[in-house]
């Protein structure tokens, strides 16, 4: 479990908002030693291939998005303050007083402006301040700020990873570096099984934005089947059990019209035969993950979905359970054996 935690913390030590996934240098460093081929494609995906050595073998695509939510610079004003807009997935109400990383040519640390309580005349019914009325302070005067920061530079939420009690961890961008960490670990363990299919690990781009990464990856790799790893809502004060999954209760196996029933059954079968805890997540419409796009690629790709329960999604204080990540690794390994090979 320590290794999995280290993968996760290393992956979350960098910032890569949608469209700038190449900033996640640690991912390639972790993946490359275990892959037969490793490359970044035109859409910004990092693809790691594990060949089975059988000519004409089928292909299984394993997808976890590598991008994270973020903001974007729209202006630097005459006081040196940075104006910004939401780029992908960030709710205005979490912004005031957040620390952020401004991903300019030289990275800057800043804080989103806030009003001290003494000066806030808003009364009891304080309204959410819109992103367009907030600024980021990086401590620079106008000249230096304008030199250092350009319109269009991306911004990420900032926090360091911390281990809480009971195997829970706290940090930013666990959505979906948690999924990435699981796939890195699976890749590192593949020596123990002999797949009958080529395995394409796709650490995909722009899931939080327009899904361009997974769409392209599915098109280019033409898989026979795909398995998507992402995060889902865990039960928390504002997420009742009817809307969320139990943190630490095992991964959530998705059940949805867009997902392939046989593959979903294989996942459940793999969990049962190995005695792994699991939960099911019934999704009526879109899954809101890369599965939606991959399943519709070309003539259609049978796709299954595993989600890791996560609290406070799209904030700098996301919480996941390392035990869920561990279970996910075993479940994906079981699934690969089930669908793509036998023991070595």
């Amino acid at each position: 479990m320590t290794e999995l935690k280290n993968y996760l913390f290393e992956l979350c030590s960098e910032s890569a908002p949608s469209g700038r996934e190449e900033l996640l240098c640690s991912l390639e460093r972790l993946v490359r030693p275990y892959a037969d081929e490793c490359y970044r494609d035109g859409a910004g995906n990092l693809i790691a291939v594990k060949k089975c050595g059988v000519p004409g073998a089928g292909r299984l695509l394993l997808d976890a998005h590598a991008d994270e939510v973020g903001l974007v610079v729209t202006d630097v004003d005459e006081r040196g303050f940075i104006h910004f807009a939401n780029h992908a997935g960030i709710d205005d109400k979490i912004l005031p007083a957040s620390t952020v990383t401004v991903l300019s040519s030289h990275t800057l640390i800043g804080v989103v402006s806030s009003i001290p309580p003494h000066l806030d005349k808003g009364g009891k019914e304080k309204k959410v301040i819109k992103a367009k009325d907030l600024v980021i302070d990086v401590g620079l005067d106008a000249d230096s700020a304008r030199k250092a920061v350009k319109v269009g530079d991306f911004i990420a939420l900032r926090s360091s990873c911390t281990e809480l009690r009971n195997g829970l961890v706290l940090g930013k961008s666990f959505d979906n570096r948690a999924g990435c960490a699981v796939l890195v670990k699976v890749l590192s363990l593949l020596g123990s099984i002999r797949p009958r299919r080529d395995l394409y690990f796709c650490f995909s781009a722009s899931e939080e934005f327009n899904g361009a990464g997974a769409s392209s990856a599915a098109f280019l790799t033409e898989p026979d089947e795909a398995l998507v790893l992402d995060t889902t809502f865990a039960v928390s004060p504002y997420t009742p059990a009817s809307r969320g999954k139990k943190l630490g209760g095992g991964c959530a196996i998705g059940i949805s019209p867009i997902l392939n029933t046989h593959m979903t059954e294989s996942l459940i079968g793999a969990a049962r035969s190995r005695g792994l805890p699991y939960q099911t997540e019934v999704i009526a419409g879109r899954t809101g993950t890369n599965a939606d796009n991959i399943a519709r690629s070309r003539a259609g790709v049978p796709t299954a979905l595993i989600s890791l329960p996560l609290r406070y999604m799209h904030s700098a204080g996301e919480i996941v359970s390392l035990s869920d990540l561990e279970t996910a690794v075993l479940l994906v390994m079981g699934f690969i054996e089930y669908r793509a090979g036998g023991k070595r």
Binding site: D41, T74, S215
Partner: protein
């Protein structure tokens, strides 16, 4: 500049009915290209052969407008919006149906939705109106164009201005080994449809949308953004796509090396053709060159002529640089 742009904006080309725009452009550019064809969806493609990178430049031929959905017993035409329309912006505007029949678009009050609006074609009953037009016909908004020493004001600069820019780039094409696809896309305003299939078919290495972007420099404007007169707008992201860093940096370098005025463009509401190319197939490096236009999606779209010139020069400089 106005004369050539006038010829483009005067053609009726509401999304789905942009054929005449493409035909006009085809007539002008055919001598300038190695190959010209129209694809299944209706986008016009002109190819300049080369052995280097495959670069796709896109400008859309369609414009926003109306489509007739119903004619009531008194002869008033009920309409639906084609593309993003705020009906108040077009209150009492003259309109022309695709067959040339003219009328007036009426938006009854400040809260009216397009459903509450109607077109009056001067007939007294349903039969009279249906003798002039059919259900399903599109109509465009009419407005005069003018220019002064700084600006051009016209309807449909979105995106006949882009079409004009591509045509000028073709006329002034620098030495380059890039294989350049000039794509005059259809149905952009209704969901980037032409670009999606053209992008798939051409499968370029680099795709660049040439379009208008919102100028955020007017007294009523509370957001930050591009300024009219600020130079060619180099897109970083819009609601539909994040541009590849290599393309953004390439365009910035080309502008700086050639001394072309430019501004970096972050559009928070609105998309362009690259959104469809980026999600439609193999994963294409995307970028955008835009002109900051005031009053976008009205009859008085306003562009700074030097920004248009800068956009033409920038694309030429970029193509030259791509070859190196």
């Amino acid at each position: 500049m106005l004369e050539q742009i006038k010829r483009l904006v005067e053609i009726n080309g509401v999304s789905g009915g942009e054929k005449k725009v493409a035909e006009y452009i085809e007539g002008v550019i055919t001598p300038l290209a190695d190959k010209v064809y129209t694809d299944v969806m209706g986008s016009l493609v002109a190819v300049k052969r080369g052995g280097g990178k495959r670069v796709m430049l896109m400008a859309h031929t369609d414009e926003i407008g109306l489509v007739c959905t119903y004619v009531d017993e008194k002869g008033f035409v009920r309409v639906a919006a084609v593309g993003g329309i705020k009906p108040q912006d077009f209150a009492n505007c003259h309109i022309t149906f695709e067959n040339g029949v003219r009328g007036v678009f009426v938006c009854p009050d400040k809260d009216s939705k397009t459903d509450d609006c109607y077109v009056d074609v001067g007939q007294s009953d349903r039969e009279g109106t249906l003798g002039k037009i059919d259900i399903g016909m599109t109509a465009r908004f009419d407005a005069d164009s003018f220019e002064n020493e700084n600006v051009i004001v016209s309807k449909a600069l979105d995106d006949r201005l882009g079409c004009y820019i591509l045509m000028e780039v073709m006329k002034n094409l620098p030495e380059t080994d890039c294989e350049v696809y000039f794509v005059f896309t259809c149905q952009e305003e209704v969901g980037l449809r032409g670009a999606r299939v053209a992008g798939f078919d051409i499968s370029p290495d680099i795709a660049i949308a040439v379009d208008v972007t919102a100028a955020a420099d007017t007294p009523d404007c509370k957001t930050h953004g591009c300024k009219m007169g600020g130079g060619a707008a180099i897109k970083v992201r819009d609601s539909s796509a994040v541009c590849a860093k290599s393309v953004v940096d390439g365009l910035v370098n080309a502008a700086e090396n050639a001394g072309i005025p430019y501004q970096r463009d972050v559009l928070t509401a609105g998309g362009t053709d690259i959104g469809a190319v980026q999600t439609g197939g193999r994963g294409v490096l995307c970028g955008g060159v835009s002109v900051a236009v005031r009053n976008v999606h009205t009859c008085a779209e306003t562009a700074y002529k030097n920004d248009v010139r800068a956009a033409i020069e920038l694309i030429c400089a970029y193509l030259e640089q791509c070859a190196e």
